[in-house]
Amino acid sequence: MAPAPAIEVRGVAKAYPIFRTPRHRVLEALSFGRLRYHRPFWALRDVTLQVPRGATLGIVGANGSGKSTLLQVIAGIVRPTAGTVVTSGRIASLLELGAGFSPDFTGRENLEMYGAIAGLPRATVRQRIPAVEAFADIGEFIDRPVRTYSSGMFVRLAFAAAIHVDPEILLVDEALAVGDAAFQHRCIAKIRELQRAGTTIVFVSHDMGLVKAVCTEAVLLAAGRVLRRGTPAEIVSLYHGEVSTAAVGDAPRPAPRAPDVVHPTFRPDPAFDRRAGLFRHGSGGARIRNVELLDAGGGALGSVAFGMEVTLRVHLEFYEDVPVSTLGFIVRDKTGVDLVGTNTNEEGRPLPPRPAGSTLVVDFTQRLPLQPGPYSVSTALAYSPTQPLYLDWVDNALVFDVLPPGHKHVHGKVWLPVDITIHE
């Protein structure tokens, strides 16, 4: 039997009620369920994950994706709206550096306080203070009021205090990226020491280098859901271009089909709708129902040979009368840089007026001599070529790889045809 995980999160969801004014909160509470003034904001939805004992799990995701809430839920600070969290072992949370420090007291006094708050017996705290002092390395300031500290000193003391609590489970939120390079180095060394000692660590960070350096596993959160769990390198590269192979990952690659070069038909894809939901905004007056990448024969492509001519086919469905509209796309690399893109107006091919209930299939055909690697395509349908008002915008509509050219190296992000003349 496998040993019980240190942290087990099962089906956890967390909703925060949003009230327009504090008065509404009171009115709703006093009505005992008869009145409803709030609307829920779901910070987490159906999160399930286990962290094995001794593992270090990195949590990455955009701002507002629910990372901090997840840590608070694991810590037991915030009670989930649904689902359960089971943890085994003493937890220390480093969600905010210096929480509980008071500025009028000396560093040493604050360390005693911090230890007590963290639940350590006083004798243990006294015993550890020299080690904390040495780690923080702030010299005689340890006996001066914390309000006289520079912000760097404060952070060093706070971090030193937190990391010397010696928990079985350590939860860290964005706290490691502090201090100068030498101090960071020491922090990482200390983390490794904790890892060797079998501490289970969960940490949230925007510092992808750190995630790769320290974590044994990582998860990508988006809009309160776990998009993908994997090796740190995998998750970091996903996070980096907001490339959503995670969203796409479970969907089967489109199967090769009979070519229909002659007259392509409108072909919506429910799987596309599902994953587009995560990355979509717009009025909804029309929708992008499918995006395909095809070779010259009309076969679906998952990866593209360097420089090969490909067709990006976009299937549109209109739900209102749209006299004028513009369809565009942009190809992004894994770090989110816009590389190639255009729209129908830019290229002098405006879309015809569309009545409600009609469909349209648009092909963009071009060569993609891009540096080998993963790319994502965003597509958008706008009301007008000049105003940023969108019927539908889908980020990460499609993900594909460019394969390395056999015969040469691609020095930049894009290779452009070049003529070379040598004059002797």
Partner: protein
């Protein structure tokens, strides 16, 4: 579990929490008391000066301006002592519950960012207020020896009365701490309510000045029993009437248990509300 066992457990478990966290509470209490005075010129002497200043003020107003008189044994010094003796438990109560109503908001980082037993926060402000009362008692008791009728064996009952006072204050404090998180206005309301409560309690006037038809108001007021018990054991050289002790003890235990239960029940939402 029989109801008696259930009551026993609900009475014991808050004590277990408080005892388990006594190191933390002690540090908080020290920090609270030092924190109040650490940057002031007169420092800790304010702990004595503040009640003395109130004492002088109330003595002037009630004894000299409004001519409140004590029945019977009153010498010239006895009104200030009488007043001071009633004021000390009142101030500790009012101070404790007022601070408790805002302490969770003040310590938001501890609640939102640290795994921490938040019961400790109202507890430390209540205990800090009791420690401050201790400073006041250290002034009162010698004064009773020097200017009053001296001290009697009845003083030995004072710790028991202080314990009941603690239970009652603690229960109210836990309850108000919860209310204070949900409704921030409670601070403002509380100031008015406490002033009203103080004047309904025989602190600045003797209980026997209250007309008979209003005596029932006193009988409903737990602080009345508390203040009178203080005066009995410190000034009166007698134990409080057993019926009074029984009422005070009963109310204190019920409020303590109910306050703790309310806090335990509500604590899960603190982090959401702060």
């Amino acid at each position: 579990m029989t109801p008696a066992q259930a009551l026993g457990r609900s009475l014991v478990s808050p004590f277990q929490v408080l005892l388990g966290q006594r190191d933390t509470i002690e540090l908080f209490v020290r920090r609270e008391i030092r924190g109040r005075y650490v940057n002031s010129v007169l420092g800790l002497s304010w702990a004595v000066l503040h009640p003395l200043a109130l004492l002088a003020l109330y003595t002037f107003v009630f004894s000299h301006v409004l001519s409140v008189r004590l029945g019977g044994d009153g010498g010239p010094a006895s009104f200030p002592l009488y007043l001071f003796c009633g004021m000390l438990p009142w101030l500790a109560f009012a101070d404790g519950v007022t601070r408790a109503s805002s302490v969770l908001v003040e310590q938001t980082p501890l609640i939102k960012k640290v795994v921490f037993p938040s019961e400790v926060l109202p507890a430390y402000v209540v205990i800090a207020a009791l420690v401050m009362e201790g400073v006041g008692l250290a002034v009162l008791l010698p004064a009773v020896v020097l200017f009053g009728g001296g001290l009697g064996w009845s003083l030995l009952a004072l710790p028991g009365i202080v314990l009941l006072q603690f239970l009652f204050t603690m229960g109210v404090a836990w309850f108000l701490a919860c209310v204070g998180v949900a409704v921030r206005d409670v601070r403002h309301v509380l100031g008015v309510l406490l002033t009203l409560w103080m004047f309904l309690t025989p602190i600045v006037y003797p209980a026997d000045m209250v007309p008979a038809r209003f005596r029932w108001v006193l009988a409903l007021n737990p602080l009345y029993y508390l203040v009178e018990a203080y005066r009995d054991v410190v000034l009166g050289h007698r134990l409080p009437p057993p019926s009074h002790v029984a009422v005070l003890a009963g109310v204190a235990v019920v409020v303590f248990v109910a306050g703790y239960a309310t806090f335990r029940y509500s604590r899960h939402v603190f982090a959401d509300l702060l």
